[in-house]
């Protein structure tokens, strides 16, 4: 946990709720991006991100200051997003059954389009679309592991599955992404 985060958390616990604004500013982009990738619906992602921050604020006394702040609030956000997805009928299967039985169709929503626009390199644009097309469990695991650099154990806690399940999800995701890049010709030059 950074010193700034620790100071902000302690200030909030002392009653300075404005100090929480610093934490919101620091993590809103990462958290919103994660939730948006999970939900693929900008309005719903914004609502869940707000809910996650508000819940974190109300439960700040349960937060262990020795650990980084982001994984804690990401866990809250992931669970809220999962609940929302389940409520919408997109059942995320738990351990014992595949977490990602069938890939969900890619929804060309505003959020995704905006993200694609940010990616100017063709290879990365393809990769981004493939990440967006992964199943919910794979997509969330990939983002938390690669982009947010969360340990597998933390991701497992956030998703409510075992570390082994996360490794399996990452394995499948890596294979799919690697095959997709190979399909557009990437890597051929390395073999010559």
């Amino acid at each position: 946990m950074s010193d700034a985060d620790r100071d902000a958390v302690r200030a909030v616990k002392r009653g300075d709720r404005e100090a929480f604004a610093g934490l919101v500013r620091a993590y809103q982009g990462r958290l919103f991006g994660l939730v948006l990738m999970m939900m693929r619906d900008r309005a719903a992602a914004e609502e869940v991100t707000q809910d996650a921050f508000v819940r974190a604020f109300t439960r700040l006394d349960m937060y262990d200051e020795r650990r980084p702040f982001y994984p804690w609030i990401a866990t809250i956000a992931v669970r809220l997003a999962q609940n929302e997805l389940v409520a919408r009928g997109r059942v995320i299967r738990r351990e014992g059954a595949p977490l990602d039985a069938a890939p969900e169709p890619v929804v060309e929503g505003r959020g995704q389009a905006a993200l694609s626009d940010l990616v100017d390199d063709e290879r990365r644009r393809v990769l981004w679309k493939e990440v967006a097309a992964l199943s919910s469990g794979e997509r969330t695991s990939v983002l938390l592991y690669y982009r947010d650099e969360m340990p597998v154990g933390d991701i497992a806690r956030a998703l409510g599955v075992t570390a082994g399940t996360i490794k399996t999800l990452l394995f499948r995701a890596r294979r799919r992404l690697r095959e997709r890049l190979a399909a557009i010709g990437f890597g051929q030059e390395h073999s010559r």
Binding site: L115, L127, R147
Partner: protein, 149 residues
């Protein structure tokens, strides 16, 4: 060592459960193999590129919206002042009515007073109205507060 095995190790990435020398041999094979070589390169690209994908910008008013919700959570002013005044007035009126009723009850019991039946009925109705107002005042205030949320 088959290409299928090596491809499995490439996809497992940091989670491949094999000794380092086995992995070294697999990657040596991959670098020299026309099938596994591109897969190894693509796998490295996946690792690097996914980590480097740009962050999406949060909605511009997200912070403001969160802080407003937090303010409403904590701030007793979220209940309108008029509601609070009305609730306090109902409680005071109820307390006065209870005190009056108690005094009349004592007077009648000790024969200090012999009130007419219509007076008793009027007092009863007034007390009942005040009691009801006091009983439902908090609920009315709560309903207004929720509507504003």
């Amino acid at each position: 060592m088959t290409c299928a095995h090596v491809l499995g190790l490439i996809d497992a990435g940091p989670f491949a459960g094999y000794p380092p020398e086995h992995l070294d041999a697999a990657f040596d094979h991959a670098r020299a193999c026309p099938t596994c070589g591109p897969a190894l390169a693509a796998s490295h690209a996946v690792d690097v590129d996914v980590a480097a994908l740009p962050q999406v910008a949060a909605p511009p008013d997200l912070e403001k919206a969160v802080m407003a919700r937090i303010a409403r959570l904590e701030d007793p002013v979220a209940v309108p002042t008029t509601d609070r005044a009305w609730t306090a007035g109902a409680v005071i009126a109820g307390a006065i009515a209870a005190a009056v009723a108690f005094a009349i009850e004592l007077s009648v019991a000790w024969k200090w007073l012999a009130p007419r039946p219509d007076t008793v009925l009027a007092l009863f109705v007034v007390s009942l109205l005040m009691y009801s107002a006091g009983l439902f005042a908090p609920l009315a205030g709560r309903r207004r507060s929720l509507r504003e949320d």
